[in-house]
Amino acid sequence: MRWWKRFTSPVVPVKDFVADYERSFKFKLNKERKINDLTLLVLDTETTGVDIKKDFILSYGSINVQGNSILVGSSKEFYLKSKRLSKETIKVHELVPNQETISREKLIRTFLEDAGNLPIVGHHIGFDLALLEKAGRSFGLRKIKNPVIDTMELGIRLEIGKHADPNRINFSEYSLDSMCIRYGIFPDDRHTAAGDAFLTAQLLIKLLKRARELGILTIGELLDN
């Protein structure tokens, strides 16, 4: 009868940290605030695959960016406990052997605490957020409400323009690898969540500099796609 219960009572008990997170959105982000004055949370996840329904998070990395500065001290790197063994999990654990692992609850708690109502940044960030939302569902998380900046979209907007014809964009040029090369960032530690988050953060500060030159100064202007 479990499935029935879930459908008829869609509200699972909400954990306190989820409630705290949702409360933080009472304070609306002022769109007039300068991007430079804001802290942004850059994150990346490594997953078992690319299917939102089937796949799940193996590891998570994040770091804060403030203005033109990346705060190394704020960086996080987590590996998730996983009961299911798969080719991908083995691969990840081989990649980084003997990593300590944490529970899914600890991951979601930390993520929500770090995120608060800050803008979240990532490359292809929609996918990471969807999996985080899924992972948080059983703790009562319904939706990640933070403003979101996708470095891929930002790159396209800055290089081609806001109203670029999607059919004419060569998306392979906007992968994290390609963009790193183009922006002179040496791709260290690719395919670890924290490594990719760090690369994304470096990409972000360079993109933001360019955005400023194009007159994009406030967070409102940055989010207005």
Binding site: G61, S69, L71, V72, G73, S75, D189, G195, Q202
Partner: protein, 648 residues
């Protein structure tokens, strides 16, 4: 556990000094706290005169120029690229930037918070040394690339053999420049300048017909004595040269050269065939050569001390010298040199303090402020052996003044003494528990009173007089009018001449301190109290040697040499039969000084009480071996002053 990001930062920093001197743990501590900042080409990081930021920078990629604007034109002073460290003044002096930093390429920089590094500098003398070097060159930048950093690593890892440090120990010669760019007496300035310019040097030596050096002309002389004075280019070189020149001989070791330059604030020292200015010129050493050759600079600390009136700044510089001291001691640099440097620094602090006090009080004491005086150091400071900021012993001697002025002079010098002592306390010096300090009115007196004090001590050598004599006989003029101190010395010698028996009492006193080792060659340790089971290195090892040296020098009527180890050197010269013993005694004293200072630095104490077990086996053996001369010396003293037949 460090995450991938922190590790990435560590991997980078580890390649470059000073980070390569850090242990993995410390490096991680640093890496965790850094920020990675992006500056686009053309952006300014900081501008000259801006207050220091809370961090300094390491270039991860890109390039930064440090520039200075002169007469509206920007001059690049340093070019920093990958791995270069800059903005270090924030770390060292917390003073405003002296140069402007601008990104000349898109640049990523690590910003390292000062608070993290402050701690590390305290703990790691190599790191502080490294920064001292950067500071020393007058620039904030220390240039390195990977190959240089490996060089540096080699340099720092084997301090015993590297040449950069060997020169400190006085075992190697300094490389001097030759041939020297020179001109002749009678040449015109225009000719001299042409030579300087074609050879790209900032100074030229003026020679006479025998090729003996007569003077030197530097860029500064051209500026001050020629151009500013509106003199023509046809002026003869002898009219604007600085002279006489300071010279030394080709075999002078580094310590000697360096101390000479520091003492006389020389920028250039000439090397001649026989060391005088009456022989042929063979080379020149500039302070720049010295800076380059040593990678660190007490000279800069001294310069900074002379340039500041801010007591906090002075205190900070004194703290900095202590780090230098730690480095010197760890690297077995000769005590002679180390003590010379630290004494010079302490003396300058006293001189600065007196100047500050005079600035404050002179206007209210118009007449008294004209009275000549001499500030003297006593005890270990007087012997120029005070490495740590242990208790201050000092005094003021001033001219005799007419009755009508005597009260005013007394209050004036008391005020000066009080202010000077307050500044010294602020710089971390400890008060003398016996109050043998200039701010005690008893020890701030006109010369006639001082002569009476010494006469009394010499004529009535009771226990207290002898105790005073051990401290006050080691006086050394530190500031003010030195002849006052010299006239006191003459007085003392004539008194001793009259009261020969005094030396016998003095000798007896020198034997009072108990021997350092028990019958079974074990250390004699304190039996009770706070220092129980500890060995008193000052009382049992150093004082017997210092007392013996002082006594023997007095008996030879030699004055003007205060260092205990230098006194032993002199004694070895005076008494060839005991030469070996005296040289050993001098060496022993140096060993004690080093062990005590290291112990004191390690535990932030006076270093006086040592736990024998805390010393390594080797150190313990070294210490025990160093005790031998004490016993031998005491035997000589006993015989020479017939103490066995002499009842007090």
């Amino acid at each position: 556990m460090a995450n991938v990001i922190v590790n990435r930062v560590k991997e980078f920093l580890k390649k470059y000094p000073p980070f390569n001197f850090l242990t993995d743990d410390l490096l991680e501590l640093v890496a965790r706290e850094v920020e990675l900042i992006y500056y686009e080409k053309g952006e300014y990081l900081f501008e000259k005169g801006e207050p220091a930021k809370k961090h300094f920078f390491v270039v991860r990629e890109g390039a930064i120029h440090l520039t200075e604007e002169l007469a509206g034109i920007s001059h690049t002073r340093e070019h920093c690229d990958e791995g270069d460290v800059f903005g270090v003044l924030a770390l060292l002096g917390k003073r405003p930037y002296i140069l402007t930093a601008q990104a000349v390429e898109d640049s990523l920089l690590y910003a390292i918070p000062v608070h993290v590094f402050d701690d590390i500098m305290q703990k790691n003398s190599r790191v502080s040394m490294y920064f001292a070097a950067g500071f020393a060159s007058g620039q904030v930048v220390v240039r390195t690339d990977l190959s240089q950093s490996q060089e540096a690593r080699k340099l720092f890892n084997s301090p015993a053999q590297d040449n950069g440090l060997m020169i400190f120990s006085g075992q190697s010669l300094v490389n001097y420049s030759y041939p020297v760019v020179s001109c002749q007496l009678g040449d015109t300035v225009a000719m001299a300048v042409k030579k300087m310019s074609s050879r790209g040097v900032g100074s030229i030596i003026v020679l006479d017909g025998d090729a003996f050096p007569k003077g030197i002309i530097t860029d500064k002389d051209l500026r001050n004595r020629l151009i500013a004075k509106g003199k023509p280019y046809e002026t003869k070189v002898e009219e604007i040269m600085s002279h006489p020149v300071r010279t030394t001989h080709t075999k002078a070791d580094f310590a000697h050269i360096y101390l000479t330059m520091i003492k006389h604030r020389l920028h250039h020292l000439l090397i001649t065939e026989d060391g005088t200015d009456q022989s042929e010129l063979v080379g020149i050493i500039s302070d720049h050569d010295i800076l380059l050759s040593q990678g660190n600079s007490p000279a800069v600390i001294i310069n900074a001390l002379q340039g500041t009136s801010d007591i906090k700044e002075i205190a900070k510089l004194r703290d900095q010298s202590e780090r230098l001291l730690g480095y010197y001691l760890e690297n077995e640099i000769s005590i002679d040199f180390v003590a010379g440097i630290i004494t010079e620094i302490n003396d300058i602090i006293v001189q600065r303090a007196i100047q500050l006090a005079k600035n404050k009080h002179d206007t209210s004491f118009k007449e008294a402020s004209k009275v000549k005086f001499c500030f003297v150091g006593l005890g270990s400071e007087g012997r120029g052996e005070q490495l740590l900021r242990t208790d201050l012993d000092n005094a003021i001697i001033y001219e005799d003044v007419p009755e009508s002025l005597s009260d005013q002079a007394a209050s004036y010098f008391h005020l000066i003494a009080r202010d000077v002592m307050d500044i010294l306390f602020a710089c971390g010096f400890q008060a003398c528990p016996g109050e043998m300090m200039a701010n005690n009115p008893q020890w701030c007196q006109p010369i006639s009173i001082w002569k009476r004090y010494f006469s009394d001590w010499i004529r009535q050598p009771d226990q207290e007089s002898l105790m005073m004599a051990t401290i006050f006989f080691d006086y050394r003029p530190v500031a003010g009018f030195h002849p006052l101190a010299n006239s006191l010395t003459e007085h003392i010698y004539s008194e001793i001449e009259k009261e020969k028996i005094f030396l016998n009492f003095f000798a007896k006193n020198a034997l009072l301190n108990p021997p350092p080792l028990g019958f079974f060659r074990n250390f004699i340790v304190e039996k009770s109290g706070e220092q129980r089971d500890k060995f008193d290195i000052k009382l049992r090892a150093m004082m017997p040697l210092a007392d013996a040296a002082r006594l023997l020098m007095l008996s030879h009527r030699v004055f003007g040499i205060n260092n205990t180890f230098k006194r032993f050197e002199k004694l070895a010269e005076l008494e060839p039969t005991n030469q070996e013993l005296y040289l050993d005694a001098g060496k022993a004293y140096e060993i004690f000084m080093r062990i005590r200072a290291l112990e004191g630095l390690k535990n932030q104490t006076s270093g006086r009480y040592i736990q024998p077990e805390s010393l390594g086996k080797l150190q313990r053996q070294l210490l025990k071996n160093a005790f031998f001369p004490i016993d031998e010396l005491q035997k000589i003293i006993r015989v020479r002053f017939q103490l066995d037949y002499f009842a007090s």
